[in-house]
């Protein structure tokens, strides 16, 4: 949805939806953003949630000269961004959302900081509502690598796992800085050549992990022989604060594109019945196959990242083939237009008539745009 109004440079939005997108884009574009009526109709808990405030805090730490104004009820926030600073950060993420929620913002902002980012995040590493750290590591970092060209200094290390609801996990994210991003053309997703995965179990029986592996592998072996799933059994201090287990599957194609799918066990609050490992494994496999069916040159959860880097690239044409656009991406594209006035050309690529019988998954979307020539203004040159 478009901004309600624009006051000079400042964009005004209504509602808490896509808060992260807006804040991240605001940081990048330098345009202040004002968000009003945040959960104003929610009588019980109006205003910003704790995790959103935590995100704002993280952005504040990451930048220099940011001004944030919250009204007393927390239903309105004025965010005027400073310059991205980076450096060594530590942040205790709110356990209401997974670390993936915060990591997304860091991945988008990391390459444009003044100093290489080295961020220690503590909280829930694996949760249902945001991509797990394995997912981020597999899908987002491989995408980021394409734009950074050299992956020296790009790392996401899972120091400790901690599942919802209490978390207790820790990750270390390092990201190098770049002066500008290149315009790239990615149109060949390639074919899936190998499937890897991680099954983790924290404070539960190791058998759970093994059972999950078995069922997931069973599904995947019907398509491809090269399947290997690691198990990550954690105990004691390394296993965070609450019990749980889950699986993250990763499919890699011949052209280096990574697809990922997550599945995690129910927490006690979510349902009474505990999750069955076999179901979990199968579900993850189905989700991965869904992802493969959708195809494209990036994971569907990170279409927005590809779009962002395309828009921020040099003033040249860049092209990117994705699967069907997700709602999130659609909104992100709208926001990109608001903040950077970049309009993407979206089209369904022509299918070669010859290849009609060997369709590779779903209809794809070809995104084309001209970058805005974004340069990292914070970095120091000598």
């Amino acid at each position: 949805m478009p901004p309600v109004a624009q006051e000079g440079n400042c964009l005004i939005y209504r509602g808490s939806n896509f808060l992260k997108q807006r804040l991240v884009l605001s940081c990048l574009s330098g345009k202040p953003v004002k968000i009003t009526q945040i959960r104003a109709e929610d009588e019980g808990a109006p205003g910003l949630r704790e995790y959103e405030i935590s995100l704002i805090r993280l952005l504040d730490k990451l930048t220099n000269g940011t001004k944030i104004e919250l009204n007393p009820a927390g239903t309105s926030v004025m965010f005027s961004p400073g310059l991205l600073h980076g450096g060594h950060l530590e942040h205790d993420c709110c356990v209401q959302r997974g670390i993936g929620y915060y990591l997304d913002a860091l991945i988008a902002l990391g390459p444009f900081c003044k100093m290489p980012l080295k961020c220690q995040l503590r909280g829930v590493t694996n949760s249902n509502d945001s991509p797990s750290v394995d997912h981020v590591k597999g899908a987002a970092l491989s995408l980021l690598k394409r734009y950074l060209l050299v992956d020296e200094g790009l790392e996401l290390r899972v120091v400790r796992r901690g599942v919802a609801p209490l978390g207790g996990g820790e990750v270390l994210f390092t990201c190098p800085v770049r002066k500008s991003l290149r315009a790239i053309q990615l149109q060949e997703p390639g074919m899936v050549k190998r499937i890897r995965g991680t099954v983790y179990a924290c404070k539960v029986s190791p058998a759970m992990a093994n059972r999950t592996v078995e069922s997931a592998k069973g599904c995947m072996l019907k398509f491809l022989p090269d399947v290997y799933i690691y198990t990550d059994q954690n105990r004691g201090k390394m296993s965070g604060n609450s019990p749980g287990f889950g699986i993250c599957l990763l499919a890699e194609t011949t052209d280096g594109v990574c697809f990922a799918a997550d599945c995690i066990s129910n927490t006690r609050e979510e349902s009474d019945t505990p999750s069955i490992p076999e179901d979990l494994g199968r579900e993850a496999a189905m989700r991965l196959l869904d992802e493969i069916y959708r195809g494209g040159c990036c994971d569907s959860a990170y279409q927005w990242l590809a779009a962002l880097f395309m828009a921020l690239g040099q003033k040249h044409v860049s092209k990117f083939l994705t699967g069907a656009l997700s709602t999130y991406t659609v909104h992100f594209l709208q926001h990109l237009r608001d903040f950077f006035s970049v309009t993407f050309k979206l089209e369904n690529p022509e299918i070669d008539e010859d290849d009609e019988d060997d369709v590779r998954g779903a209809q794809k979307v070809l995104m084309t745009c001209v970058g805005i020539g974004y340069t990292n203004v914070s970095k120091r040159v000598l």
Partner: protein
Amino acid sequence: MADDAAGQDKRKQHRARQSGVKADKKKVKAKKESNQKEPELTARQRNPKAFAINSAQRAERNFRRKEDLTAKKQHIPVVDQTPDEPPPVLIAVVGPPKVGKTTLIKDLIKTFTRTNVSEIKGPITIVTSKKRRITLLECNNDINSMIDVAKCADLVLLLCDASYGFEMEIFEFLNICQVHGMPKIMGVLTHLDMIKNTKQLRKRKKELKHRFWTEVYDGAKLFYLSGLLHGEYLRNEIKNLGRFISVMKFRPLQWRGAHSYLLVDRVEDVTNTDTVRRNPKCDREVVLYGYVRGVPLKQEHMVHIAGLGDARIDELSVIPDPCPLPGTEKKRSLLEKERLLYAPMSGVGGIVYDKDAVYIELQGSHSHKEQTAEATEQAALVSKLIEKKATMDEQMEEQQFRLFSDAAPIKSKDFKSDVEDEEDEEAADDSGLDAASSDDEDDNEFAANDWRGENSDEDEDQQQSEQSDASSGDEEYQQLGTAGSDEEDEDDEQSRLLANNMNWKSNLAQKARDAFLQRHSESRNLMRLVYGVYNQSERNKQEQLEKEQDDESDEELGGLFRVAAKQQTELQKDKDIRDKEERCFFEYQGGVTRDWLSEDNKQLIKNCFVTGKWKASEDAENLLKLDDMSDADSEVYGDFEDLETGEQHSGKPKDEAAASEDADDAPTAGEKRKMTRVEEENLTKKELMAKKLKLKAKFDAEYDNHGEKGDEDGGRITGDHSFYEDLKAEAQKQSELNKSEFAQLDNELRIQIEGYRAGLYVRLGFKTMPAEFVENFDASYPVLVGALNMTEENVGYVNCKVKKHRWYKKILKTGDPLIVSMGWRRFQTVAIYAKVEDNFRQRYLKYTPNHVTCSMTFWGPITPQNTGFLALQTVRHDQEEMKRLGFRIAATGCVSELDKSSQIMKKLKLVGHPFKIYKNTAYVKDMFHSSLEVAKFEGAKIKTVSGIRGQIKKAHHTPEGSYRATFEDKIVLSDIVFCRTWFRVEVPRFYAPITTLLLPADQKSQWQGMKTLGQLKRERALQNEAQPDSMYTEIVRKPKIFRPLVIPKALQRALPYKDKPKLGPENPREALERVAVVESPYEQKVAKMMKMIETNYKDKRNRDRKETQQRMKKFRAQKRADEASKQQHQKQLRKKVSRAISKMRGKNDK
């Protein structure tokens, strides 16, 4: 320029020389060529031995040298961004006054277009050749104009009066150019006829040329205009200059390669005349016109109007080019009517746009004819404008009227009409289908049914999750938004399906066209789903519509119910997604994934894996086969048949398998088989294509790199430059992609995606411009509109490297206001200088150092790093000031860092005095004011003047601000204690854009910003009261009285005797008192005895001494005698021997 000659007399044919050196040479050459048909051998080929490698070391050195030279030549490849139809080349004519700028421009215009221009005002655009237009711009003598011109000119004609020599303005301009990205510079010497003496003239030319070369580069072109004839330069010389201009190539500049800009060539004030009448100083609505240059321009970006400030574009639109390039007919020269001239600010081009009137000038019949096309067009524009100037009420009425009478266009805009549109489209598709396939309709319908059946099957399959194509992925998004839109989406879907059907069965040409159209509409649909109404014009219309609705009371109107409904749905949509949880996952509907293990689903993704079927172009088996083929065969088509049959064999069983799987659906299977047959044909075609490509690649590999290989064979070793070559190729590829990607799109969509690309003539509307801009508009000052990229509209601390210009006479003082030209902007700011120390600390400097770069920080607009800038202390054009300064550019440099806080530090020494000293502990006062301050400094290092180091420990209660400190040794009360700290210097937040365009004509060159303290004091004749501390007074020193040295007793005791303080006589000068000694008889006896013994002893000793002396004398005499006799004896012996020897010799001689 061939056409220029056409006007003159008939050309003489070229006659080749029949005799002379050249002819002889040619004859010899021709003979040689006829003799030897083979290409001439190089020395290396003729005599390879001479080039053999003798020393590996030397070869290595040679190789390295060659590589060094090539590497030096290489530059990072830049993607070429010039569009297909570039904007006119901007040529600025710069020079001091009275040097002949206007004459030159007039002459150039005259040579190119045969028009006399009476008055040069503002930029003048002319068409010079089939592919090139130029804009001529005269730069006046104001430094503000010079800066703006240097920022936008592609080519600078730098005029210089040869009789006078280079003036300071020229050097200033060259320095400005260097800072803002060097445009091409061509020097032009005029007034050469003033120097009568030829020898002197030649000398002068040489002198000036060399001076020019040192400033620009060695070999820079300097053009000579030898004199005036009837008030014009010589025609031949101008023609030559024109030729130089029209073949000139330009290299891309960094700043302009990242920013779009335009030089305004027409200004219009479109404010309501009534408002202006009521309040002459009201903000104006201004429209600026110009060619977009640099990179594409976007409406949403802020722009900076140099000399005015930042502004937001209110309205941006393309208007037809007033000075278009001629069509692409194959003619060598321009037609007379194609030699267009566009100069809206000068008195040519037929129309002069004034503030509130349009004057049409009619010259000769010739010029009138020339302008007809554009004049009518412009007249139309003007009339439109006049129409627009109607009062607000009238406009409103008109709009209302339109709304009622013309319901259709309004309908088409609002929400529901989308459905109608699509239905229309559908209908159109249907009709298209009918028309296209009237010959075999039955078949078609059958096929369509089947096709649809299959599709609907699939639809059913997927109804739980997202559908097969992207738009259905969006469907899910739509469903989130509004339930109402679902239907419409389905309609859309169906229409597309239908379109699909049609495409499949019509003949090929039709098919291709339709496929294109359909794809186009599809992608448009996709874009519509994402962006809503994305078209600029549509959006504008909609906005207008909305405005109207706001104006009216919508309840009264029946026709507006729909609008209300639309608003309602939008509100609903808004509400639905408001406060939605933010998740980046693809959303599954109902949270269920498809069961991929079922056989039909499996088929869908089977080919996504490496185990599935590969594309013909990448399948290893296929490639191998092709390889074999290309190796073995000579005839392509023979094998082609073979291949096809082979393919069919492999194809059939698969089909059968498919048929067995779908046994229930026999007709479908049959259809499918038929289809695959068709596809196989295509496939083989494709394979053929792939094969051809492969062959071509092979050929290329063999023959394109042949030269290199040959060289290698010849023994020359070439380096590997593939990395550079790859980079270059990549840049080339990107450039081609940039050009071709959107070339097929319609202009509106293209502008939407790409922005207003360079070369378009645009109209920029600004809403709130100061009235002074219009009132004081002067065409001789260029109006440069530069677009700002992301974040460049913000301000922050800008840290730069800066060096005082070596020709500037003064040094610059920290805290003095400084005028900076950076990026598009000119502004005044207050700069703080600093020195970057080894640990990256920025240490405050009071003045800029001489001949060394230093760091400078100021509060100003955020500009990308490495952008060059120059600093001036004043931009006033004041003869006296000029004389005093000589050279106005105070400093140059480039941006190095941007931040929201500054880190400039100043050293601060805190001084305190001890007031109580214990062993190594001391209490120090006077350093701080309160114990709170002390608390902040706990643990800080301190030091006494004598060099004893220590540390602040803790605050002490009395006196306030004193503290306890420990030292490495005991200090004394007279010691002074220092604490060395760093104090951050605040950079003043002062940033004032220069607004020269707003000043009245006579004050344009007199802009005065903030003054320096010195200036103010001088003006007001103020003098600083000298500080009493700084006064020179006579130094009166009290003689220092030292306390006597006291050595502790214990120490005294321990000292060696010679260092011990001696306890001498109390008064050494007084003679000692003799004391009478009375001896006892015994003592007398002893004394007598002792005396006797002593005397005895003395006597004996004397005697002994004498005896010894005599004995020694005797001994020496004896010894001397012995020696003498010995000598005597030896002498005789030698005599004897000598005699014997001489005798023997005598015998021998005999």
